[in-house]
Each structure stands twice: as C-alpha cells, then as structure tokens.
C-alpha cells in the first residue's frame, strides 16, 4: 500500500471522528454560549452601577467600588474561578463559573461605562439639572442613553473576551467546548489537531457573528446626524 494514502486515511479518520462527535461539540457550544450570556448579564448588572458610581459617586461609594475593581482586575481569571468553586464552595460548577466570569466582567465593564459616561459633555448634565431634573433622573434619561451608545465598541471587546474565556471553566470541570475537546482528544489521541481546530473554529464563528451583530446594533441605535 502506498504510505501517503495511509496517512491520508488516518487524517480522514480523525476528521470523521470529529464529525461523528458533532453533537458532543454542539452541546459544548451551547454551554459556552449560555455561560457567556449569563456572565455578560451579571457583569452588566453589576458593572453599570459600578461605572455610574465611579463617574458620579461620592467619596465613600467610590472608596468601596474602586478598590474592589482594582483587586478583581488584578487577579488572574483562573485564580478567581478556583477561589469561587473550591474556596467559595459554590456549586454546581456552572454557577461558580458564571459568577467568576461575571464578577470579572463587571470589573471591566465598569471601566467601559465609566469612560463612556465621562465622555458625555458636562453641558448635558448641566442642562438636565437646569431644567429641574434630579441628578438620578439626569443620569438615567440624559447621560446614560448617550453613554451606553458610546460604550458599544468597548462592550464588543468585552463580549469577545468573555466568550473565549469561558474555556477557563474547563479548570473546574464544566463541560464546555475546551473540556469536551480534551475528552475527545484523550479518546483518539491522533486527532489532536482536528479536535482543537474544530473547537477554535467554533469559537471564531461565535465571536465573529456576535461582533457583526453588535456592529449592526451600534448602527441601529446611532443618533441620526451624530457622529457617535
């Protein structure tokens, strides 16, 4: 037998192996997407108020929020996720991963929102107050609608980072894409390239389509005639 043919057959066999396990990949993908969604959501729910506090808060509220953000941003995600699961005793692992990724995302999202809020001209706040709006109403109805629009590009990055970092949940046994790739690779060790290529392709398709989606959203919410 021609030896090159043998190699080809073996490679075909590895791709076939990946194809046969497609449901396994799909389930991992669904888990990764869920993990991303809930982490981003938690990050938004915590990060937006944190960003508002950093932009407008008093000495005390800033004094709490800022250091927390600095510490979280200064801690590797693998450490955060291990602390949450092993030390924090939060289970199941999916919940622990969501909290770890969500809290870290909040620390970064707060900076995206703080920056966007600070980029809104101070005259906007002043005009809102001059009409008689309370500070909270002014933030809610005048500053935030503009700041949120400006935060979309930064948010796009954050989304990509969180999506890819769901692979860290592998460390605490969450059966997301990377964990499943390892499992498959241990079954058929010749298929390392194929298995991990398949996983990275899925990550790429996800990040690419989400980014395009967010770009569309950005254009959709853009202020007519404006340049933001």
């Amino acid at each position: 037998m021609d030896p090159t043919q043998l190699v080809l057959q073996a490679e075909l066999g590895d791709w076939e192996f990946v194809w046969r396990q497609r449901q396994f990949f799909v389930d991992g993908t669904v888990l990764a997407v869920k993990l991303t969604f809930f982490s981003i959501l938690l990050g938004f729910v915590l990060g937006l108020p944190a960003g508002v506090v950093e932009a407008y808060g008093g000495t005390y509220s800033k004094g709490v929020v800022r250091p927390v953000g600095v510490v979280v941003r200064g801690t590797p995600i693998l450490v955060i996720i291990s602390l949450t699961y092993f030390a924090g005793g939060i289970s199941p692992a999916f919940t622990a991963a969501t909290i770890a990724l969500g809290v870290r995302s909040a620390a970064y999202q707060s900076q995206i929102f703080r920056g966007a809020i600070e980029s809104v001209e101070s005259g906007q706040m002043e005009a809102a107050r001059a009409v008689g709006l309370s500070k909270l109403d002014a933030i809610r109805h005048v500053v935030l609608p503009q700041a949120l629009r400006r935060s979309v590009p930064g948010f796009q990055n954050e989304f990509t980072i969180v999506l890819k970092d769901t692979s860290i949940a592998y460390a605490i046994g969450v059966a997301e894409l990377l964990k499943r790739s390892y499992d498959l690779f241990s079954i058929q060790t010749t298929a390392a390239l194929e298995v991990f290529l398949a996983a990275s392709l899925i990550y790429f398709v996800l990040t690419f389509s989400v980014n395009r989606g967010i770009e569309r959203l950005h254009n959709y919410v853009a202020i007519p005639g404006g340049n933001h």
């Binding site: 906007q124 005009a127 001059a130 009409v131 202020i223 007519p224």
Partner: protein, 248 residues
Amino acid sequence: MADPLLDVDDVHQSYGDEQVLEGITFEMERQDVKVLVGPSGSGKSTMLRCVNRLTDIDDGDIRLDGESVYDMDADDLRRQVGMVFQDFNLFAHLTAIENVTLGLKRVLGLSEREATEKAAWQLEQVGLREQANSYPAELSGGQKQRVGIARALAMDPKLMLFDEPTSALDPELIGEVLEVMRELADEGMTMLVVTHEMGFAKQAATDVLFLDDGKLVEQGPPEQLFENPENERTAAFLSRLTQLHGGQ
C-alpha cells in the same frame, strides 16, 4: 411693596483663591430685562449660574420672590428659572420635541400627551414646528438655540437666564435667536441676559449692568449707559462693544 422677583444681595463667589464675584447687588422686578455686559472673565456667566445654583456662592444671598434660593430645594428652584446656554446643550440623543418634553414629563409630571401638545406649541412659538422630529445634529445653530429656548420656556419659568445665547452662532444665524428673545421680552418675560449684542440691549433691556473684575461698575437704562456713562471704564467698554456688535 411686593418683593422684587430677583434680589441679588452682596454676592461673593470664588473658585479656589480666585475671587470671581465681589459683592454684586441688584434687583429685578417682574418683566424686567437686564443685560449683563463686561469683559471676559468679569464674572457675568458665574453670576447667572449662581441664580439657579449651578454654582454656589460664598457670601451674600439671592432671593427669588422673597425666598432665599438656598432655602429652596435646588430642583424646585431650577424648575422656576429657565436657562439658555451658549453651547445650546441640547440633549443629543433626543429629537427637538423630546428635548422639550423630557422636563415636562419628568419634572412637571405631565402625561405623554399633555407634554407633547405643550412642547409642539412651544416649538411653534419659536418657529420650529417643522423641525420637531429632527435631532440636534440635524439642526442649524440658530435652530438649536431656539429649541434650547423652547425647552426652558415650556417649564413656565418665572425668570429666564440667557448665557451668551448667540456667541456660538454664525453671524447670519444670530438674528433669528435675538428675534425670539425680543418677542419674549415684549410678552413680559423677566430676563437676565449675558450678551455682547448691543443692539438687543438698546432695544429690549430695561437696564444694562456693566461688570468688571467681579464688581458691578455701573447700571442703568441703556440710553443712560450708552449716552452718558458715569464711569470711564463703562464708556470705553461699551463703545468698543458697540463698534463690534452694534447691529441687529
């Protein structure tokens, strides 16, 4: 005798070590139109901002209808005092009509329908019925400033503050804004105006107040200040200003 509408009583204000206002005193009766003039840095804008408490004063008092503005809730005070800004400061994400309805809904508690009706009427008063659904970035400077005026007027203020309302406008757009302001003065609105438009001061002002270096140097009816100023500095400044901005 009834209290004056606005009573500015020996107001002192500073930013850090820098004294901005050093004992400003004047009164405004209802329907008065007072124009504040003075070189840049003389404290005119700061004076306006003290009236609606966008800036706090160090000493003295400001009374609106007899009540110290420092005894009033700041939001309550601002509801009664309209302000028009040099840079318009229209809410960039809202259409012209939404700029007007926001305060009506959130501050005065009007329903969506009441607010929209009132805002539409107010925009029509400043000649912008057609532009009601345009966004600020789609409007000319003069149109933006007229929306700014409509936004303030819709709240039915007792007093309107104008902070150099035409300074950011191209010369050909100044007229339309001044015209709206003149009409407003004719209708009896009480107005405190910082402007370099001497034509407006001559036609519409009950008094012109000349501020220099944080002090009120001279005040009086426009004829008096323009024809027979008591103070040399007033004379020099006004004649220079009239040369530059005498039109309209």
